[in-house]
């Protein structure tokens, strides 16, 4: 189990209807590739976040399939169109089965 995992997201709290907003996400995670060896020569088992999903009001915005070459603390920045007020939901899936969730509400007005 990866330790000290903490998700952080930055979403503007308000937007005008149909506006594209910049969303930044970062999750602190070691992203152990499974290719490295410890001091005794044993392979350190792979432990990465393999999928990241962002949904807005149940509609998918982005769905990322992640591989071991991605470095520690994966950071994603993307734009999303906000048609109406609602909730932006972020989910990260860890190799060990853990699921980390975070959500932010955006109001259109």
């Amino acid at each position: 189990m990866a330790e000290g995992v903490r998700a952080r997201v930055k979403v503007p709290s308000s937007a005008s209807a149909g506006e594209s907003v910049v969303i930044k996400t970062l999750i602190s995670h070691p992203m152990e590739s499974g290719q490295r060896k410890d001091s005794e020569g044993n392979i350190i088992p792979r432990s990465i976040i393999h999928r990241f999903v962002c949904d807005f009001n149940g509609q998918n915005v982005i769905d990322v399939n992640m591989q071991p070459a991605i470095s520690t603390n994966p950071y994603f920045e993307f734009e999303a169109k906000i048609p109406e007020s609602g909730e932006m939901k972020f989910t990260w899936y860890d190799d060990d089965g853990s699921v980390y969730e975070e959500s932010k509400s955006v109001s259109v007005g």
Binding site: G4, R6, K24, T72, N73, Y75
Partner: protein
């Protein structure tokens, strides 16, 4: 023929001198963090540097536009991840006394404001100049009854970053007179002493050649106002003494140990060369 080639040489020499001038590596851009905290990255040199430098520049000025940009938003700055971790440790009880940092120091935003700007600092009780790291370990062993941290452990450097962050945007102002003076003199001597097979002193690069290229990189003035610094090359926070060690090693010398009296003296001296620049920690460099 001879006169022509001599003329060409003089011409080239003049161009080289121009190239090494003030505009070599620094940027005109201003460092504003989160769109609100303005940071002074260029200042008149403190009085004790007369004859050596006229203007002092933060290392931020010498970095590429993309690296500079990462430091302008705390969300983008990976150093803040370490600060967040240290914030948890700050509130975690450790040691035999049942205390955390917060038990005595409460909220770091109040109790640690301005602390980093004046360290390293003379400690009257201990009769020595102390760095933040030494002070933290003194707290851990004497007041908390906890084990001392390694001088450049990630946990230690993260805690230094948390404390330093509370002084961000305040000018460095370490005292070099009074009881700290002898340590400062020792640090100054180390700064100008050539070491290693390459026979280089700190000054040979950071005073004589800042702004020039060192292989694929711009040499900075070696200011430490941004420490602890998140380096893209090793993806972690780096302590001042780790940087000193790396530099001395690069002159192909046996280095002093992080936390040694030599490096403490050098830290005081190098910090004093940045008196007037704002604390930037945690900064981002390559």
């Amino acid at each position: 023929m001879k006169t022509t080639s001599l003329k060409t040489m003089i011409c080239t020499a003049a161009m080289l001198t121009l190239g090494a001038g003030a505009a070599a590596g620094q940027t005109d851009e201003k460092l504003v963090i989160n769109g609100e905290t303005e940071i002074i990255t260029e200042a008149p040199a403190p009085a004790h540097l007369e004859g050596a430098l006229d203007t002092i520049y933060s290392g931020w000025e010498f970095r590429s536009p993309t690296t500079r940009a990462v430091q302008m938003d705390d969300f983008d700055n990976p150093g803040m991840i370490f600060v967040d971790k240290a914030r948890q440790v700050w509130n975690t009880v450790d040691g035999t006394e049942g205390k955390s940092c917060a038990s005595c120091h409460d909220d770091p935003a109040d109790s640690m404001k301005g602390v980093r700007a004046v360290y390293p600092k003379w400690n009257e009780d201990a009769q020595e100049v102390r760095t933040l790291e030494m002070q933290i370990n003194d707290c851990r062993t004497d007041r908390m009854g906890a084990e001392a941290w390694g001088y450049t452990d990630t946990g230690m450097t993260s805690m230094v970053a948390l404390i330093s962050l509370q002084s961000r945007g305040m000018p460095v102002d370490v005292a070099i007179d009074g009881p700290a003076q002898s340590t400062w003199e020792k640090g100054k001597e180390l700064y100008y002493t050539r070491t290693g097979q390459l026979e280089l002193s700190c000054a040979n690069c950071h005073e004589d050649h800042y702004g020039d290229m060192i292989r694929a990189d711009h040499l900075s003035q070696g200011q430490i106002n941004g420490f602890p610094v998140y380096r893209l090359k090793n993806a972690k926070l780096n302590a001042v003494h780790s940087r000193f060690k790396g530099c001395v090693r690069d002159t192909r010398a046996e280095t002093y140990k992080p936390g040694s009296p030599e490096f403490v003296a050098l830290e005081l001296y190098v910090a004093s060369r940045g008196n007037g620049l704002d604390v930037e920690a945690p900064s981002v460099r390559n």
